[in-house]
Subunit: 281 residues, 4 copies
């Protein structure tokens, strides 16, 4: 045929796991979705329909539940590592395994100010994510955050940009800046307090967003990334993706009114998309 | 033709308004989506293409922004009332107006423990809703909540139900109970502290869910509704819609393990849907 | 407590069924999602946690698959009727049953111009729907269509409407008219060729949309409804819901160009929503 | 700070364009969504808030509409190329431009069997896509298809795979194979009849899926890719992403029935995901 398999990967996505740990004082709840992908020696499966080296994706799914049955999930970065180690140990045909996880964040219901031991309410709307990529030579761990919605109504400008024949945007020293932060960062160390570090990075991203005097999304993105690298020596590189959720001031002059930067229409599309990778020099 | 217009309604949906109020100490942020619907004397528009009595939906949208320009939005129930009053006052052909609103809940970013004056982060994941329905004879106000995700890992049972030839479900004294509460309630009074009352209802719904010894979703739903009516004299009737977000225990016995009610697969479909209206006797 | 259960309903939603019928010449494929809702004597379940009259929603789901195992699904209106009959016959505590169905439409893959006997491709993007509502006194059947996307680029106007202080919309004799039709209609007869009739109604809706000289969405909606009632004596009443999917002409004058009604931005929100019920006089 | 911008990109997404071309006989309709991304010399924007080299994403959006005003869109691959050429010619600071497009496919409404000249209905549910990536050294063009839903109810098997301690899946010679094909392919030639070629690739993908005796998704994916490379000399490499949309046979034995491979539950999650890149040797 003169054709060849250049690369391939396969696995199971959206394996949804809820793990309850029933402590004496309180129950603990972990709610995650797991995606697994293998690369390796799967050429015969493609070219000849020979499945002898194929671990079914159904078995990958079962493995997630079986490992969650052996012990509590713990931090998702650790659970991801246990999964990759299992798959590499038992599947010589696999060259690398990627396990991506997304965690829903629950909070305890407060009853008369006290956190309830076994009743939960949806907590922060963002997701905590992690990605463990492993080969027999080693592994890398990324932590991340998705759907972190932020908005500031002051100290955001956009001016001094290129003007060409298709420019209609007006320069401004005072606009709403809103975005849904997606971030992920790689750890250079093996031994990280993943939960505490994740909370710390989240806090620094938020604080920097709040305090930055923004000249553009690019400008604020870089400041946020830099602040994380400054604050956390274990973080080697950070990637930020920040869509510009445009809030357009409404023209009230046809109604004989002025808009003192108070009335906006929020729009979902079109949207600017600003992305960068920032690392230590 | 021998056909007639039996009923009709029209309006504008998804009018997205962000209103910033720039106080001296801090900015305030209101983020809502508004749906407006008219009923009235619109037969000629349908039957003859005569638009003389039609207020364009584009003008409805403009009116939302114009009214938001005149003064801060305030509680959504109040903003809805201002809108219905405006439309009824200026449109004699309109018999009734319904304004439905959905509010996104933001929180202030904390910087060193202090709420920031003009920087916000996505807060609770649920939505606050309101519906004002008005005619020239008066109006009614409903408040509501949507997407209130809750889960309890203890004190939830389901047993003693009908068994027929198609039954395979096993009875249990210990299951996860999870749902996404959608609630709305009507006020019998005109003069309600809408914001405070909404927070109160939300708190009672959560506390009752947490503390109830549940024999079924129906059982817990009724307890939640009753607790709201007990606690808030201004609430006349409450409607609850609670999908049963099934969490199925995973059978680990094929792997030589037991599942002590700790490992679950979360599913989105199919789902039970339990709804009721509860009122004062 | 002084409170009472005013009304209640419960059931199973999103029961997804794919039924293959393996004929000698070809396979037939039915792909539906079923929602079931009961009303009846369920007060004790709510007030006392007594489940003795509760048929679990899990059993409702099983019943869908069991009935699909007994014979091919046939037209969804017929399958819905079989389900309601089963539930009423076996559940004396149930007063009424509603079965709502949504069918995905597949087409056969063409191989050298010939329809393949057992390979299918996603067909028309719209959904066919049906709703059977039954009590022991009888039943009613609605058929419907959802997500029927249509657009016309000529013979659509909107002018002569109310102008007030908040009007900014310009009158036009030539605009794009686009909508996503949602329709459902009730049959007055018991004995209808449901599949043929559904195709017929769909055809009349499309043809009327295409040929109508539209003065507004209301005007075209009424014409479409009237044409269906004219053409199909078995249809008693029809409801149409038509969001106005606005296509806004782009102002090209800042670029020294004119827009001869050729360049549009398609928007999803805000949107007009026009609805009506039309019946025989 | 000891940190540096490692890479960055920015642009506008979801620029929705509907272009009507009003021919004498008929109108032509093009409905696309455009995403634009720049890479280049944008370090100062990030590090110093200096926007002098920044073309606003708002201007990118305007450019899409302006170019669509100059002439009909034509094939999306051609429109993408015009956009990249414009941006590179006018923005020396830009090193590369990527324009990704997604086209909604409309069909003409049939009136008495004849295609209507200016009224359209949503056509095939899949999307046609294209990606043009350009630098000053040249450009590459990918065409693609998304959301191509296919299902076969015969000649699909999965057996002979690895069995381990977590295996529960049963081997089968007869299962439903369903997927939502996402494909994209690169052209080695400059001068391609893009529309005709796209239709041809779509046809070969469908025919091969229909006729293949499948031993796994991998096996069928490779056959589909190979058939495209065989049939179209202009195609250099093709990437296929095929989620396994599992259809699980329902166990009817608890109801005293057998399931002769006729009754299935369709599931969205979890799902297998199989991907490969296939090229000429």
């Amino acid at each position: 045929m003169g054709i060849k398999l250049s690369s391939s990967n396969y696995g199971k996505s959206r394996v949804r796991l809820v793990r309850i740990t029933r402590g004496e004082e309180a129950h603990h709840l972990k709610d995650i979705s797991v995606d697994i992908q293998f690369e390796g020696d799967f050429e015969e499966a493609h070219t000849h329909g020979d499945n002898r080296k194929v671990l079914p994706t159904d078995t990958m799914k079962n493995t997630v539940y079986a490992l969650a049955g052996q012990q509590p999930v713990g931090e998702i970065e650790e659970f991801g590592l246990r999964l990759t180690e299992h798959f590499l140990a038992t599947n010589p045909q696999v060259r690398n395994v990627r396990v991506a996880m997304s965690e829903r964040l629950w909070a305890r219901i407060l009853v008369e100010g006290q956190p309830h031991p076994w009743a939960f309410v949806g907590g922060r709307p963002e997701k905590r994510t992690a990605l463990v990529a492993a080969t027999r030579a080693g592994h890398s761990t990324q932590a991340g955050i998705e759907d972190l919605l932020v908005l500031k109504s002051y100290e955001s400008a956009f001016e001094g940009y290129i003007q060409d024949r298709y420019t209609t945007l007006k320069e401004t020293r005072d606009r709403i800046l809103a975005t849904v932060v997606k971030a992920n960062w790689s750890y250079s160390l093996r031994d990280v307090a993943f939960g505490r570090c994740w909370e710390g990075v989240r806090g620094v991203l938020l604080q920097t967003f709040a305090e930055h005097r923004s000249e553009s999304v690019q400008h604020t993105l870089f400041a946020m990334a830099g602040a994380v690298l400054d604050a956390f020596g274990a973080v080697e590189v950070i990637r930020l993706s920040m869509p510009n959720k445009h809030h357009l001031p409404v023209d009230l002059t046809p109604f004989g009114m002025e808009n003192h930067n108070e009335v906006f229409v929020a729009t979902d599309e079109p949207y600017g998309l600003i992305e960068a990778v920032v690392r230590r020099d």
